[in-house]
Symmetry: C2
Subunit: 335 residues, 2 copies
């Protein structure tokens, strides 16, 4: 493990609903130390944040880093973020957290300028700097777990849009008057193939005698994981459902291609689990004929490379964005 020199180091914090992770990295993007632990929100955000700050201090001590050399802290959080206020706002995956001034709390505790961003943007930055998107100028990152999130790297920087609301690729309407979505709208991509919606769909349509139902211990327990496994074993029902997944995903990718002309789509989580044969190869086959010739050979679709290691890089990338001046400095923290 390399010690940071005079240039100092940054801390990245990945705050999830079931895991928290802390990393230290040097300015050149080398991870110096990392720790993660399972967590369950205690119901007191103050307590949870104090515990996180303890994690961070312990990591710094353990790695033999000089706290005086800490240049910045970056925090990746799930769900809506008020970047300017440095707050999370009702994160669905952190029960009991309403509006919490994460930045002010961590800045007090750790004594360095702190920035925050949502986990989809942070993961997009992580795949771009450290993963499948290294060296690319324009890429779209899509993360498909409970919902579908995204991050857009355009012209070599993250595009956040007004109110930092850009990149909501899961809420592109792919059927104008389609299925109701958890977000309150209709026909969103997420309402078809987001993890939660897809699971509900599968539990409704999976035949009791199907392999997926057997693997799950009952059709009412099927999750995308069992469906993928059944498809891998050649089960016809599961293969049809994978085709449906790929068809909807293709709609989103075609729309995004005509709007953004990215050179690369990086797909995470369930797409990675489904792999080349069940997801990426059929997806490319579905997308290609729906693009103009000029884009056909220029738009790549690839699996995310970091997997569970995303947590190692996400917060660090937010710290780099902050230092680079690409993120608003939270007002609460400046005063």
């Amino acid at each position: 493990m390399r010690r940071s020199g005079d240039e100092g180091f940054v801390l990245g914090i990945d705050l999830g609903g079931t895991k928290v992770a802390v990393s230290a990295a040097d300015p050149a993007g080398r991870i110096l130390a990392h720790r993660r632990r399972p967590t369950a929100p205690t119901g007191s955000p103050e307590r949870d944040l104090a515990a996180l700050a303890d994690d961070a201090r312990a990591l710094v001590a353990e790695a033999g880093l000089d706290r005086g050399q800490l240049r910045a802290v970056g925090v990746s959080v799930p769900g809506p973020v008020d970047l300017e206020g440095g707050r999370v706002v009702d994160p669905p995956n952190l029960p009991g957290w309403g509006e919490v001034a994460v930045v002010a709390a961590l800045e007090d505790a750790l004594g360095a300028p702190t920035w925050i961003d949502n986990d989809a943007n942070a993961a997009a930055l992580a795949e771009w700097r450290f993963g499948a998107g290294r060296g690319r100028t324009h890429l779209v990152y899509m993360t498909m777990s409970t919902g579908i999130g995204g991050g857009l790297i355009l012209g070599g920087r993250l595009h956040r849009g007004v109110a930092c609301s850009a990149g909501e690729v899961g809420h592109i309407p792919v059927e104008w008057d389609g299925a109701p979505c958890a977000c309150g709208q209709r026909g969103c991509l997420e309402a078809y193939i987001g993890g939660a919606a897809w699971t509900r769909h599968l539990r409704r349509v999976t035949p009791a005698e199907s392999l997926a139902a057997q693997l799950a211990g009952g059709a009412e327990r099927v999750r995308p994981e069992e469906l993928v496994e059944a498809a891998r074993r050649g089960d016809p029902f599961a293969l049809r459902e994978m085709q449906r997944f790929v068809d909807y995903l293709a709609r989103g990718i075609v729309i995004l291609s005509f709007v953004l002309a990215p050179e690369l789509f990086v797909l995470g989580t369930i797409a990675v689990a489904a792999g080349e044969e069940l997801c990426f190869a059929p997806l490319r086959e579905r997308v290609r004929p729906r693009l103009w010739r000029v884009l056909r050979d220029r738009v790549e679709i690839r699996p995310a490379a970091l997997g569970a290691r995303t947590a190692e890089f996400a917060g660090v990338c937010v710290a780099y964005e902050g230092l680079a001046g690409s993120l608003p400095r939270p007002a609460a923290a400046r005063g």
Copy 2:
């Protein structure tokens, strides 16, 4: 009219199928002189380009500018552009033009570094710098004439994407297996409300006794212009067709809002002709409930401000982009 000082001046050329325009501007964005004339391609691009260069020289002389002070030339052209090659590629509105090295020809004739871009991008830049989008950071420009083109200003710069193919907002599929589009794909926004497709649709569905048919001298002659006029006079058929136009346009705007979170949509041509009552007010009403609350009051939809004056600014904006290093310098021209 202000003469350019030591900082020199730029020339902007707007090359259209029926009109050409030349402008001179100073570096601060003041138009110093402008002329335009009707044109019909002669079938010889060389001759057409030589005539354009003559126009440019005549404008410079007329305005009393010193040709030695010419810093850059920007050219706005219709249809596909090979930016790196400095060429137009089979522009549908310039019959007889195949692959034409516009940049090399004009650079030879005018003796200054020359850049090229397509007219949708150039118009987006013009509305951003001189029109309805002044001072904005993120805006989407949509131009609706024969087809539907667009330009994206994101983070204060034009997003071109890979192969300069971004911003094809007319080819967002708004019905996945929908109407065939002139581009070879299906369900494109343009296949419903682009000028050519909409005209075909109108000629199919307009009742012979309707006001629009009367205004046009027969249902088989109806164009969007007559439909708008009939709607303005309260004709129920025309009002229903305007509603259809607004409904499809809303789909495109909602999709673009979730992807890009722009602060402003600037709509040109037919939307401007239809105006507040027939287009913008019902459009906002249709879009708002389909956006998340965070975007509802932040995404504005406004008419383009430049109208026919776009030609005055479009080429000049391309020249500024070139000088700012935002456009590739055509390879042919460098050597």
